[in-house]
Amino acid sequence: MVMEETNTKVPSPIGENKIRLDAREKVTGAALFADDIQFGSGLLHARVKRSPHPHARIISIDTSKAKALPGVKAVVTGEDYPGYIGLYLLDRHIFCRDKVRYVGDPVAGVAAKSEQIAEKALQLIEVEYEVLEPVLDPEAGVSPEAPLLHPNLEEYEVANFIFPEPGTNISNHFKIRKGDVESVWDECEALVERKYHIPHIQHVPIEPHVAIAKVDETGEVTLWGSSQSPFAQRNLIAKCLGISQSDMRVIAPYVGGGFGSKAGVSMEALAVVIASQVKGRPVKLLLTREEEFYTAFVRQGLVAYFKMGCDADGRLLAMENKFFWDAGAYTEYGVNITRASGYSSSGPYEVPNVKTDSYCVYTNHPVGGPMRGFGMPEMHAGLEQCIDELARDIDMDPVEFRRINCLKTGSVLVTGSKMHPIGLTQCLEKAADAIGWGSKAPPSAPNKKRGKGIALMWKAPAMPPNAGSSAWVELAEDGTLTVGVGGQDIGQGAFTVAAQMAAAALGVPYEWVRIATPVDTLYSPYEWQTVASRLTWSMGNAVVNAAKDARRQILDLVAEAWEEDPQNLDIVNGIVVSYKSEREMPLKDIAIYGLPKPDDQGWLGGPVRGRGNFMPSYITGLDPETGQGERAVVHYTTGAQAVELEVDLDTGRVEILRGVSAFDVGRAINPELVEAQMEGGFVQGMSSALFESMQLKDGVMQNPSFVDYRIATSTDVPLDLENIIVEVPQDDGPWGARGVGEHSMVPTIPAIANAIYDAVGIRMEGPPFTAEKIYLAMLDAGIVK
């Protein structure tokens, strides 16, 4: 690791590589995941009857035989649940009512004494369909002739920054109109026009989705699940069912990998609705890996058109982008990916003239949802290749071209606002330096070609303007600290970072801090969702505020007891010290029972509990016609990746030899965890670049298992991964921190694509850059025989 020198002093343990809090329980098998919770013999097992058709009308559902099967406790269809559910656009029923819109759409659910009985019951449910013509391509989907998938789109409740076009399959149309692209094309020395197709991929957390629901006699719901979003699930499911959010409790133990797939609501509401028919009994719905592939959120497909031009000096003059998002059957979450890619559509560059149309298109494909990067990996995949091409077209080094055009502090963004202080140029230079840009080592064998590639990225947390966080800290008798958070540790280390922040802000050793787990909406403080790489920044601010609140309570109390000015007091290593009187007192003598009054007649203080929250207050809207506005997002994290690879001319296989990641994280609270995110993201990005695609044929996934949906294994990764932390502090981040969880897989596809071009001179329409695709492209280009 290479760390930027910083002058600002930070309190311990900020910036220290603390071992993650959950490590020991995770290596001993003690860590509880949702499917590990034991419910005893009262547990019922749910299975779901799903649509075999991508698009069909439900004529009838006969559940009578299933209901009569001994051991079956409940059979549920959409009939009794008319409500709509969704995060930004309420376009989904829990169980289908009139139509099915993708292969796997839930039609009926069963709870039974065993999985086997539930399965038998499913076979006894008879569903009659009238098959309808499907939409299987987003560009075809926007045509006026396309079958309409959601005819009542205009009736759907929608967030005020999403713009559906009723009467079409477009559920959001985001526009940028900045400057005037048409007037500058003629001035361009070089122009690049390209089309890219980015396939659907999936998150594939190793832990499949699971939810256990119990509804008691009074209607109070408890949901245990593998969840990035316990509070959003509480809110959305309660809203859909028309119950109070206070009657909906979500308990979320450790998450076995999320990457976005366990955000919002996907399958959890199914378990709740089934359980509501068997009051008092816990009902478990555990997706098989096959169901996971067919029915959990997917990363949307994208057809992207780019046109961009620069002058002879290499200055970008204009960009015109059209994005057709293949968003699937329901776009309740995906509509905001369309928006995020729109307001980031210039890439991390200052471009005076930009025209973008980003369309969220309903198709009869699996449901698009958030995935690590939230549209940015897909968009950057093409954009960063075009940048490379443009540089080569004017005979400029791609690194130099990027140095000229990339965003700097104060640059005017595509939305018209000004860039906050950033270190993107440093990231670019350090990544180029580390990969040895400009030098070329000979290939390892005569049948191989070697290449290097680089790509930049930017990404903002995509969320509602007022997504909030809260936290509490509570001291125990011995002065140790328990921190309550509503954000989730999905592997990124959020709990560890929260503990480090609480320790630093209060003044106790890190080892004294516990996190109150599992997250439980009944006891844990509110958190919008564990998404958008926002926890370190947003939840971190809430934790710091809570710790400061506790600190203030303690210091005020001690000041009063010692008759001193709180300004002269401090908490160091769990001991209250006075810099004036040089008195000291350990927190354990204060935390619960307070202190005697100075005259010893009575007591001061009481149990210490600090509270804090955080919500950005400065976000403004964007003009719906131009996409221009003062401040559309809270901040951007930027960075660069560079790779060196070899292409095997006999097979087309790519081997990544080295990878470099450099990101401006504002401040690394735990550099080791930051590096782990950079590394893991690089490999996930690499996996998506080389191996992954959901092969959809007539709406049916052809490779719904690990046998044929290949992801990177231990033999596919380079050990030579360098992670560079750049720190240009964020003004409203805790100690200047910004998130980096998602960003590390954003520039990987184009960095690899650019390196493949450098090696063998070919470009492909989109990933995955499989050995087959590369070889056949080389064959067609006459590079191999």
């Binding site: 590990d36 957390p205 998450v255 592997g491 231990s714 050990l719």
Partner: protein
């Protein structure tokens, strides 16, 4: 469906159970014995999250019948530490930063332990190959491989 009475050893304890023919070792461990450290990730022997030692050799417990374990010796992730002391590879994987979400971790540790038992000085390539049946989506494997290398060193 027939039930079978089986006797076997799990993490050093003798156990007896009546299991139906179609119960997998994975299901028996998780449901009958509440040894939930062993995870179910794919149920077809591809992801490795359910890896346990059976008579000293790693197997995908989703592809072994419980009844086939009659007389067998099983070690799960819960059996790696002894008297509160972590196994070397548990500690080195923590130290190397090879744990993130933790769902693949138990299977990885079992595969790593088995490798070190049969080959105390594995090369980097040996480690990669020994772990190829354990999918991890978080870490990118690098720190896991380094953790196993370190365990071999000590």
């Amino acid at each position: 469906m027939a039930f079978h009475r089986i006797t076997f050893n799990v993490n050093g304890e003798l156990e007896q159970a009546d299991v139906p023919s179609n119960m997998t070792l994975l299901k028996m461990l998780r449901e009958n014995l509440a040894l939930t450290g062993t995870k179910n990730g794919c149920a077809e022997g591809e992801c490795g999250a359910c890896t346990v030692l059976m008579n000293g050799e790693p197997v995908n417990s989703c592809l072994v019948l419980a009844v086939e374990c009659d007389g067998a010796e099983i070690v799960t992730v819960e059996g790696l530490a002894h008297d509160e002391r972590l196994d070397a590879v548990q500690q080195t994987i923590i130290d190397a930063g090879g744990v993130q979400c933790g769902f693949c971790t138990p299977g990885i540790l079992i595969s790593a332990r088995a490798l070190l038992d049969r080959n105390p000085q594995p090369s980097e390539e040996d480690i990669r190959i020994a772990l190829v049946g354990n999918l991890c989506r978080c870490t990118g494997y690098v720190r896991i491989i380094q953790g196993v290398q370190e365990a071999a060193r000590i």
